[in-house]
Amino acid sequence: MPLIPQPPPPAGGALLTRLHAINAEHGYLPEEELRRAAEELGVPLSQVYSAATFYAAFSFQPRGRHTIHVCLGTACYIRGGEKLLEKLESTLGVRPGETTDDGTFTVETVHCVGSCSMSPVMRVDGDTYGRLKADILPRLLRRYQTEAGGMSDEGT
């Protein structure tokens, strides 16, 4: 038993759910939101911060309007995911983790989105694109640059 009495632990999954909600609302985890979460859930701030920095899904920096996740899972890696990334980097002029100057795209890599049979795969916001070839990237990106984005007419 610790010297300082502890509050009861939060409900199962409550902290992760809260962190997801903050990240979804703001696109990242603002400090004051984490402090508030700690208080409201009755969890030590150190624990909240540990979890926030442990998981890849959370960000401490604001993101662009669209987040591109290039899959580098095994299947995608074997079938050219890196080439896709390289082409994307040169097209947008950013490296993974960075956001384009105009704030449109943040580029990230991900270890598998579970569409391995369609490799190589890329995800833009919630939309997954499979069987990609480097040469269709410009067309695909343009769709998100011009409007809010969305699935293609014909798939890819």
Partner: protein, 256 residues
């Protein structure tokens, strides 16, 4: 009670004992970094690896493995020794500046590392990530002021956002428990500065001599534990003097 053998020597230990405790009860030395008898087993430094030879076989971290009836344990089997040496060799390459690590490694015959040196920004690294500071602060003190940050090779210990902690009570348990003296803490005037935690707490001054001696945020302790009310009220020096005076007075009254 549980009966087991350590290096062919029989030992008897109470239920709920770990292999490490049994090993030490048998008088056999085994280095550890992340183990502390007051805290829950953690099993992170992997120095305490031993071989179980019967009734099943395996290399296990003795600090976290429950002693079982009939277990045969070898602390210095070739695989246990080589696992320990490699762990130390890696620690040596992580913290080449640590006196404690260098000595510990030397005791096991490791004086140099094949695994390189830390990058310049971590050249002075002393922390071996044993987690004792984090655990003592959470499990024993209950302040939970510090925690692990990041994961994998990015992992480190620190306060939330790596700024002044509001939860830290300045007790210094972390610095006290740290096996490699990695935590820098200093009393200066009416302040205790926990450099490693970017945190400063106020010190409480002795009502008699005015000297600063206990961190102000530990004041809650005297409300919780009336028996330490006295302890908290006076600095150790004045308390010693006061007790001495009381003794003398008592002697005096008895004599007269």
């Amino acid at each position: 009670m549980i009966n087991l053998t350590v290096n062919e020597q029989p030992v008897t230990v109470p239920e709920g004992t770990t292999i490490l405790q049994a090993v030490r009860a048998a008088g056999v030395e085994l280095p550890t970094l992340c183990y502390h008898e007051g805290l829950a087993p953690y099993g992170a430094c992997r120095l305490c690896m031993v071989t179980i030879t019967a009734p099943h076989h395996g290399l296990v971290a003795s600090c976290a493995y429950p002693a079982e009836e009939g277990l045969m344990v070898e602390t210095h089997s070739p695989e246990a020794v080589s696992a320990r040496r490699l762990a130390l060799e890696f620690l040596l390459s992580r913290c080449p500046q640590s006196e404690v690590i260098r000595e510990l490694a030397a005791q096991e015959g490791v004086t140099a590392s094949r695994f390189g040196t830390p990058p310049p920004e971590r050249a002075e690294e002393l922390c071996v990530l044993c987690g004792l500071c984090v655990r003592v602060c959470r499990e024993a003190i209950g302040a939970a002021a510090i925690g692990f940050i990041g994961r994998g090779m990015e992992r480190r210990v620190g306060t939330p956002f790596e700024v002044q902690s509001e939860a830290c009570i300045g007790c210094g348990a972390c610095a006290e428990i740290c096996p490699t003296n990695a935590i820098k803490i200093e009393d200066r005037g009416n302040e205790r500065i926990l450099h490693t935690w970017h945190t400063t707490v106020e010190l409480h001054s002795c009502p008699e001599c005015g000297r600063y001696f206990a961190p102000e945020p530990t004041g809650f302790l005297k409300d919780m534990f009336p028996e330490i009310e006295n302890l908290w009220a006076l600095c150790p020096e004045c308390r010693r003097q006061r007790t001495a005076r009381q003794w003398i007075e008592q002697e005096h009254t008895r004599a007269t």
